[in-house]
């Protein structure tokens, strides 16, 4: 069973085995090809050429009348200086030795038995070869041997080895990539998983193991999405239905004679309303997006400042009177309102600051409250996390969705939200938004 599983080509192990076999076959093919191209069993053609030329020259001299040889030698020396063909005085024959080297034999074969060939070992001619022409005259010449002396790295075997190493390495890299790429894409998909259903399902391809993992992950994603969708729908329905009783209570509160009671009741109802709004807007943010449009965001910030000032909070706006940016107006308003709500809850004074550069609009909401420790900053951005977990819910607290909604809105604008410390104490929430959005926009 194991063996069959191992041999299954669709599994990872099977593919690795196939890969090894394929690389071995590839190396063999490459070796064979190189072998055939270089043909070490055949004489090197470049050596042949030198020998052939020398043989031809020797025959030319041998068949020419003795009187014409000096002139021929001059011509030859001019045409083939590298051969260094010269007349050899007869007494040199003493210094000559018949040599049995394969080159000389090859040359002898070409010239025929009427020529005698020997190598010279003495004097200035040492290293050259001598050829006795049929009539006894002798010449000396250099046998060109350079082609044999190729650099070692050009050697056939070395080239083959390098080829093999390179191809195996490349194959190995490719295979490793092919096998691990789906795994890294899984990791990425898991990181990117968001509930808005925008992410593509994982591609179900590759080795069998990987495909089944992809399938399982996709199924899990579907289940999670359905689960969340159901809960979202339920939460939205509850929040939605709560509006009717709140509307009734709002109306009923108008008939309460006692001013203190009425104002307290109205405050509670207002809190309930804003919590409902927060939940609904939190649930909505992943799905329906308001249309982007050009907005004078400075006026939005002034509006929020005025609204909080009217409620008796100390909120100031610090920034230009006008600043245009392409945003979702209601979302931006909600986002800044949430931040200022937090700021006046934890601090005595709040400042909304706007700085605009050609590309980015930076909105800062600053308070002089206790601030948030570095350790809690990340957690505070999560939904349903409140800054005052230990404290009881007072009239001002909500669900802990404010920051989380503000951040979602900033991200939906391709912007960012960060929490920063204020000196000496307090918190600065910074929203950075691109002034122009890449997507199509309407100017009017």
């Amino acid at each position: 069973m194991k063996l069959v599983g191992f041999l299954n080509l669709r599994g990872i192990s099977g593919q690795i085995a196939a890969l090894v076999v394929a690389s071995i076959v590839a190396i063999h093919l490459i070796l064979t090809a190189i072998f055939f191209i270089h043909r070490p069993d055949q004489p090197d053609p470049s050596i042949d050429r030198g020998h052939n030329q020398l043989a031809a020259l020797a025959q030319l001299l041998g068949t020419a009348p003795a009187a014409e040889r000096p002139r021929l030698l001059v011509d030859i020396a001019r045409a083939f200086p590298q051969m260094n063909v010269e007349r050899l005085p007869p007494e040199s024959a003493v210094a000559a030795a018949d040599t049995d080297s394969p080159e000389l034999r090859g040359l002898h074969r070409r010239l025929g038995s009427s020529y005698r060939i020997f190598s010279l070992v003495k004097g200035e001619d040492a290293g050259k070869i001598g050829i006795a022409l049929p009539d006894g005259a002798m010449i000396s010449a250099k046998l060109l041997q350079d082609s044999r002396q190729r650099p070692f790295w050009m050697g056939t075997w070395i080239v083959t080895l390098l080829f093999a190493v390179v191809s195996v390495t490349l194959l190995g890299l490719w295979a490793a990539r092919a096998l691990t790429a789906p795994l890294s894409s899984f990791a990425k998909a898991a990181e990117d998983f968001s509930l808005n259903g925008a992410a593509e399902p994982l591609p179900e391809r590759g080795p069998e193991e990987i495909r089944s993992v992809a399938k399982a992950l996709n199924r899990m994603r579907e289940r999670i999405t359905t689960l969340i969708d159901d809960r979202t729908k339920m939460l939205a329905a509850i929040s939605h239905d709560l509006r009717t009783p709140i509307t009734r209570m709002r109306l009923r509160a108008e008939f309460i004679e006692d001013d203190t009671h009425r104002s307290r009741m109205l405050r509670d109802l207002e809190q309930m309303r804003s919590m409902l709004e927060a939940v609904l807007s939190f649930l909505r943010n992943d799905r329906k997006l308001e249309a982007m449009t050009l907005v004078d965001i400075a006026t939005t910030l002034q509006l929020v400042t005025d609204q909080f000032a009217d409620m008796g909070h100390k909120v100031a706006y610090d920034g230009p009177e006008h600043a245009m940016a392409t945003v979702r107006p209601d979302d931006l308003h909600r986002s800044v309102t949430n931040l200022v709500e937090n700021a006046v809850r934890y601090g005595a004074e709040a400042t909304i600051r706007l700085t605009v550069s050609p590309d980015t609009a930076t909105i800062e909401v600053e308070d002089d409250g206790p601030g948030i420790s570095d350790a809690r900053k990340q957690i505070m951005l999560e939904p349903f996390v409140r800054g005052d977990d230990a404290r009881n819910m007072d009239e001002a607290s909500g669900f802990g969705l404010g920051l989380s909604i503000a951040r979602t809105i900033a991200l939906a604008h391709h912007g960012a939200l960060s929490l920063n410390d204020r000196k000496p104490h307090g918190l600065i929430v910074r929203i950075q938004l691109p002034v122009r959005q890449q997507s199509r926009q309407s100017a009017a």
């Binding site: 709002r250 249309a291 907005v295 004078d296 005025d306 245009m324």
Partner: protein, 248 residues
């Protein structure tokens, strides 16, 4: 009150909400009739004169939006929609259907009363209308105020954020250009006396509007202060034809 005692028809399927709205409005000097759904609404409208219709979007049978369109096809009676959500889509849809205003639930009853008064006043003004009063959008010095979308856009086309009180006040100014308006009359024309507003609040609103639209808020040229105790909107105002309105 624009009319001495306006006849208001409230259409809402929730019995308690319906009767509470009726009770609240009656205590504020309105004559109120109620209806559960479209059928009752039609019957009530044929029975007697209705000055204003308050229509819930979520109704059994024919929904509020469709009723709104039907009513609008036959009459000019002002309509305020009560929407379950304050979402943009519902809002625009409601106004496209011909509603004059909308209010998301849960609403502040005082806000409802203020809107009723504002809508009735506008309606009365439109009866004796010039071109400006009938328009759904006006322009002045490149600015554009759209009553349907309840938004103001500057000459660059950017939306300017305003509270509904600021918007109503600017609207009042735009509809009466070149006329001196006392704080008193501005209060009457916008919030109405019974909303518990004060003359000073008009000054606050004017300074906030100036900050948003005036080139130099310290030296106002658009909304001028008149020494005798009032304001005047100086720019020339033009009506925008409906075909040019609307946004992308």
């Amino acid at each position: 009150m624009a009319t001495a005692s306006p006849n208001i028809l409230v259409v809402d399927d929730d019995r308690e909400t319906r009767s509470l709205i009726a009770k609240y409005l009656r205590s504020n000097g309105c004559n109120v009739t109620v209806a559960i759904d479209g059928r009752e609404m039609v019957r009530a409208m044929s029975d007697h004169r209705v000055d204003l219709l308050i229509l819930d979007v979520m109704l059994p049978g024919e929904d509020g939006l469709s009723l709104c369109r039907r009513v609008r096809a036959e009459s000019q009676v002002p309509i305020i929609m009560l929407t379950a959500r304050g979402e943009d889509v519902d809002r625009i849809l409601g106004l496209e259907m011909g509603a004059d205003d909308y209010l998301p639930k849960p609403f502040n009853p005082r806000e409802l009363l203020a809107r009723i008064n504002a809508v009735l006043r506008r309606h009365a003004a439109a009866q004796t209308a010039s071109a400006i009063n009938g328009a759904t959008a006006l322009t002045f010095l490149g600015w554009r105020i759209d009553f349907r979308l309840r938004e103001l856009r500057n000459p660059a086309g950017a939306r300017v954020a305003m509270t509904s009180a600021e918007f109503d006040l600017l609207r009042t100014f735009c509809e009466r250009p070149g006329r001196v308006l006392s704080r008193d009359s501005l209060l009457d024309l916008t919030q109405g006396r019974n909303a518990g507003s004060f003359e000073r609040s008009i000054d606050v609103l004017v300074s906030r509007i100036r900050r948003k639209i005036e080139p130099d808020p310290q030296d106002a040229t658009m909304i001028k202060t008149v020494r005798s105790g009032g304001y005047m909107f100086t720019p020339a105002v033009d009506a925008v034809t409906t075909s040019a309105s609307g946004r992308s």
